[in-house]
């Protein structure tokens, strides 16, 4: 479905992604992890067409990204930046229905069917009760769900989420991870999400990518990551695996 070949990108002179290749199939929950500054956000932006690669190519459904008409691509691939925050107060339903924008013509407004899609998406993330609430009255976890619904409202085939679990408490991390797993299983889409939480990623994802200085250091099923030697090499600390969970080794 998505084919990344030898992609590089630099901000001015600072390389963020270096010669990275990977392929993604349908119905996968992919966790993208790695230290801060390793290029996770940049990779997601390249896949979302927010940035264009300096070299290499990305193809979605056998067609290069640059050849996709922007709105056509936006109907199939949804992207959620790290901290989306509307400048002015908005209700959840208005936020979610704006996710239908790629389907509208230049002078076209959202119709009843778009509002239906928005309500369906809110129900899918278990946020139907938030429909008429204002974003700035919501908790962090509620906002994350509303923004996920906004992405889902376009019924994309591929979803790219930049650290959706950041700043959530542990019960919300669990809920949101379950939600992602559930959405992948039920709708057969692929979700690629950046995260720092190795344990939660390993527990829910089908596949884990670890980035290091702009390149892929590991691309494997979760068990391959959950080993002290791999953690030492990739993340630079001593860990042990207790009951399937990584914990720091006490000196």
């Amino acid at each position: 479905m998505l084919d990344v070949r030898g992609v590089s990108y630099a901000y001015d002179d600072v390389a963020a992604v270096r010669d990275l290749s990977a392929t993604f199939q349908r119905t996968q929950l992919v966790a993208l992890t790695g230290p801060n500054g390793s290029g996770k956000s940049t990779l997601l932006k390249l896949l979302a067409r927010v940035l264009a690669p300096d070299s290499g190519s990305i193809a979605f459904e056998d067609r290069k990204l640059a050849e996709w008409p922007p709105k056509e691509y936006a109907r199939r691939v949804g992207y959620l930046p790290q901290d989306p925050d509307p400048t002015f107060p908005m209700r959840a339903l208005e936020v979610v229905v704006s996710g239908r924008a790629p389907f509208l013509g230049r002078f076209e407004w959202e119709g009843e069917s778009d509002y239906e899609e928005a309500r369906r998406a809110l129900a899918l993330v278990d946020a139907a009760d938030l429909t008429d609430r204002y974003l700035d009255e919501m908790s962090g976890g509620e906002r994350k769900r509303v923004f996920l619904a906004r992405v889902l409202a376009a019924r994309p085939k591929l979803i790219l989420l930049d650290e959706p679990l950041a700043s959530l408490d542990v019960s919300h991390v669990q809920q949101f991870s379950t939600l992602l797993r559930d959405i992948v299983d039920r709708t057969e889409i692929t979700v690629i999400y950046a995260t720092h939480d190795l344990n939660w990623a390993a527990a829910y994802a089908d596949r884990i990518l670890v980035m290091q200085r702009g390149s892929l250091a590991l691309d494997a099923a979760p068990p391959a990551l959950m080993r002290p030697d791999v953690v030492r090499e990739l993340f630079g600390f001593e860990a042990q695996v207790v009951g399937g969970w990584l914990v720091p080794a006490r000196p």
Binding site: D12, A74, D85, T87, S98, G99, F107, E110
Partner: protein, 323 residues
């Protein structure tokens, strides 16, 4: 919701604007009546058709231009404190006007307006070029460039005023404070053309502009050509602001206050706020100009003061009642 949400407030504001225009052309320091004017009585005709009506219409057009530019700047810069003058448009215009005055050319009809308009366009272009890097225009750099250029313009204005012929200073100061005194039908037609052109352009990009509410990356990922939309939006709103400033001087508060007022009342996105702000700005400025004419029997007060005096209490009461 959707498009139909626009119709009711639009009709409401349009009706209010017509009433405001009728009041503004009926009342003034001279007692004349519409009936006499229609009957052909010369004083009444002159006062109503040549003085009050073009002045009220020009006030409406200036208010609409500033409010439309204001809501566009707030959306583009994602900054609630943005107003039409934030990127140096007013500074450039005032600078042009002040320098013209210093050279003693201010008495030639039309020159101040023309130079002010050129100053506004020049300032906008300068700010844009300063802020652009790697084919990307960063909103923070835009704001900073505007701020710095405005400081430079203030310096030039002070020097120009110090060198100006004393007799021309009163007119120059009045222009700086903003005034609709001396409005002509040709001003009305000229600004109407600018406003229509700008509104067509802004309506054309309105759907893309509202997607900027969630940030530029988000908009890009949804297929919006963000750089193009920014450029078109900035140029259209700067030019219409420059045209408004050229005919009326610098009238504050309308462009900042009205978009927030509309947002507090109707809470909708840019596509709705653009036409509502234009109408709201028109109403506010027509009423403010009327107040500035009739508040004192012998003197005209600055209209910019009345936009604040009329607008601020209304705004504050709304703000208190909102969440």
């Amino acid at each position: 919701m959707g498009k139909s949400a626009l119709i009711r407030p639009l009709l409401l504001l349009a009706a209010a604007l017509i009433i405001a225009l009728a009041i503004a052309s009926t009342f003034g320091t001279t007692a004349v009546s519409w009936r006499d004017a229609w009957a052909g009585e010369p004083t009444a005709r002159t006062v109503i058709f040549d003085l009050r009506l073009p002045r009220a219409l020009l006030a409406a057009l200036v208010g609409a231009s500033l409010a439309a530019a204001g809501v566009t700047f707030q959306t583009l810069l994602r900054n609630p404190l943005a107003d039409p003058f934030i990127l140096g448009v007013s500074g450039g215009a005032a600078c042009g006007a002040a320098v013209t005055t210093a050279f003693g050319w201010a008495r030639i009809p039309g020159v101040v307006s023309l130079v002010a308009f050129l100053g506004a366009c020049g300032a906008t272009a300068a700010v844009f070029i300063l802020a652009r890097r790697r084919e990307y225009t960063d909103p923070t750099r835009l704001l900073l460039s505007g701020l710095v250029l405005n400081a430079l313009f203030s310096a030039i204005i002070l020097i120009a005023f110090a060198l100006s012929p004393a007799g021309d200073l009163t007119a120059a100061l009045r222009w700086m404070m903003g005034t609709l005194f001396g409005a002509t039908w040709s001003d009305v037609v000229l600004l109407l053309l600018f406003l229509i052109a700008a509104m067509i352009v802004l309506v054309f990009i309105a759907g893309d502009l509202r997607m900027l509410a969630f940030g530029e990356d988000d908009a890009r990922s949804r297929g919006v050509d963000v750089e193009r939309v920014k450029l078109i939006g900035f140029v259209a709103s700067s030019i219409v602001t420059g045209a408004a400033v050229a005919v009326s001087g610098i009238i504050g508060f309308v462009g900042l206050l009205i978009p927030h007022l509309m947002r507090l009342i109707w809470r909708r996105d840019y596509r709705v706020l653009l036409p509502l702000s234009a109408l709201g700005g028109a109403i506010l400025l027509v009423l403010a100009d009327l107040a500035s004419r009739v508040a004192l029997p012998a003197a005209e007060l600055p209209v910019g003061a009345f936009t604040a005096i009329l607008g601020v209490p209304f705004f504050l009461s709304l703000l208190r009642r909102s969440r």
